[in-house]
Symmetry: C2
Subunit: 338 residues, 2 copies
């Protein structure tokens, strides 16, 4: 099938650009030095492509992602890099331990107790390295590890995500601050022990040489938010839309805010002749835009490029793999939900 | 089950508040005077509750919504208030015409041709009444209707959505502008003919007495965006979250931007003791917040109230109906996708 025969809106991945991104990262952080974050794509087929690049351990953000990865046979080392308290969700995690190595983040006595009560076996101590989100203070990490070991849990090490440092205009300042966040993480690790020191993301992957693994996810498909910092990764994903209405002043395509993560602002839009466009606004099922040059006619196709890839993937149930104009595969987005 | 036993994040509807909203609107626009828009909830069970209130015609934004409504036995009069060009999508619409009355919006020769070629039988002429989105100019509407009738299509009337007037602080200005938009629509209707003049939404439902039907959707569940204009409708839906990490300075709950439409900005958050909170930011699976009073402890539940209900519903595959603390039903969100 030709990509232009797809019903729109259609989530499209350029397979050669994806492979470029995967191969580029596999050189920078080969094998176990990268623990790809599946939250960025929620797709076991894409995770399998990362596995083929030599990465056999994965990061997940939800129980559904862990369970889905285990079911897909990709469970050799799954880290749920998030705190979970609900017994039903933890039971679902525990149930896949016979086919997968499951490790869950803990950052408090309550999360340690919940993990132990559910019969989970492995934990990582989540350390706050500056982002106001989950993670204990570095000086608490040893105590959390002691609590976990006291409950019979294996403590595999520490993680600390410096999400607040991913996109910074001043690269020198970014380098200094990432070093400081790693200092905090290593201080915690000295008290915790274990083999794993896990940190980083697509915005800081090039600044990490003192951790055992990097958790990058967005690098595989990219978005306009990460693109502005300048990386070797290229935009491999867009949503194909059709112009369904046009006037001399503006045009409307069928890619709305239910097909596009909006927390990082409007997407970018390109017409097929390579023109950019001013995006006026998105409605549930529409984007209103004005091409920078030329006019858009009813029936024309456009590429809508997300500002944030992670929630965009989560809005679709399938993605189409293309090489040139040919559709070569269809991958379910099978790790959605919780 | 008690609502506080639900695994989080959980999309929750207070059934009594929902019924209040449905009954209130059914008084203002009884029966066929309201064509509820299912895009706001994407749930056939909720549409069935609207049907029980006497509304037997519905508005849809996607082919999937029309097909799902027809499959649920709610197809007595389904309007796809959106333009569609792709033959495969139009064929799916045409295929349900044996069990449903399907009417599709057209606003150009191309959309008329596509509808006719697919074997669709009924159209409505979509008229631009000021919102820069779909719809022909009012003075073109008669020509579009002629084209449609020339292709053997039944033209049921006109629609024109004044989405740019839904939320205005100056109510006098809103009233004047809505009257002007209706003037444009009625001018088009004079040229088009047919029984239907369809317009309006939750923000303007009270200003319409010259159209045959109002297309409101958000009134059923509401959101913080519509709440600020002051309506008789109450907030009937929230996402239940659990505090999974807490510090003296902030807390983190498990309701992130993959569970919450973000195009209208951050959601509101309330703790169970009725305190509001400052919402700092949302990540994929987290909201970081500070309660206005007291402290949030690990394990506490919070209510996260969406700024935009429509995309929030589309992110969940199920919603839980509660009365007080009791979970009384589970409704699939079965109209997602395209």
């Amino acid at each position: 099938m030709n990509v232009h025969d797809l019903p729109t809106p259609a989530l499209v991945i350029d397979v050669d650009l994806l492979q470029h991104n995967l191969a580029t990262m596999a050189v920078a952080h080969p094998g176990a030095a990268l623990r790809p974050h599946v939250k960025a794509h929620k797709c076991t087929a894409l995770a399998a492509a990362q596995h083929e690049q030599g990465h056999h351990s994965f990061t997940c953000a939800t129980v559904a992602e862990v369970v889905g990865m285990a079911a897909a046979g990709l469970g050799s080392d799954l880290l749920l890099a998030n705190e979970v308290l609900h017994p039903q969700r933890l039971a679902a995690l525990a149930a896949v331990q016979d086919v997968a190595l499951v490790t869950i983040a803990v950052d408090s006595p309550e999360t340690v107790d919940a993990a132990a009560a559910a019969g989970l076996q492995h934990v990582l101590v989540d350390v706050n390295v500056g982002l106001p989100r989950c993670g204990c203070r570095p000086e608490e990490a040893g105590h959390i590890a002691d609590l976990a070991r006291g409950r019979g849990l294996t403590v595999r090490g520490v993680m600390g995500y410096e999400g607040h440092l991913m996109v910074m205009d001043d690269h020198d300042e970014q380098r200094v601050k990432v070093q400081q966040s790693v200092d905090r993480l290593l201080a915690a690790h000295a008290d915790v022990g274990g083999d794993i020191v896990s940190a980083g993301g697509t915005g800081t992957y090039h600044l990490h040489d003192r951790v055992t693994e990097v958790q990058a996810g967005s690098y595989a498909l990219m978005d306009t938010y990460y693109a502005r910092i300048g990386t070797p990764f290229v935009q491999a994903c867009y949503v194909l839309g059709t112009v369904i209405s046009a006037t001399p002043k503006f045009a409307v395509a069928d890619v709305g805010l239910k097909a596009m993560g909006m927390d990082h602002g409007n997407p970018s839009l390109e017409t097929l002749d390579g023109q950019g466009a001013d995006v006026w606004f998105l409605s549930d099922e529409h984007v209103t835009f004005v091409p920078h040059a030329g006019v858009a006619a009813v029936g024309d196709h456009v590429h809508v490029v997300p500002a944030h890839i992670d929630p965009t993937m989560a809005m679709h149930d399938v993605t189409w793999l293309v090489r040139g104009h040919e559709v070569i595969d269809r991958w379910p987005i099978d790790l959605r939900g919780w």
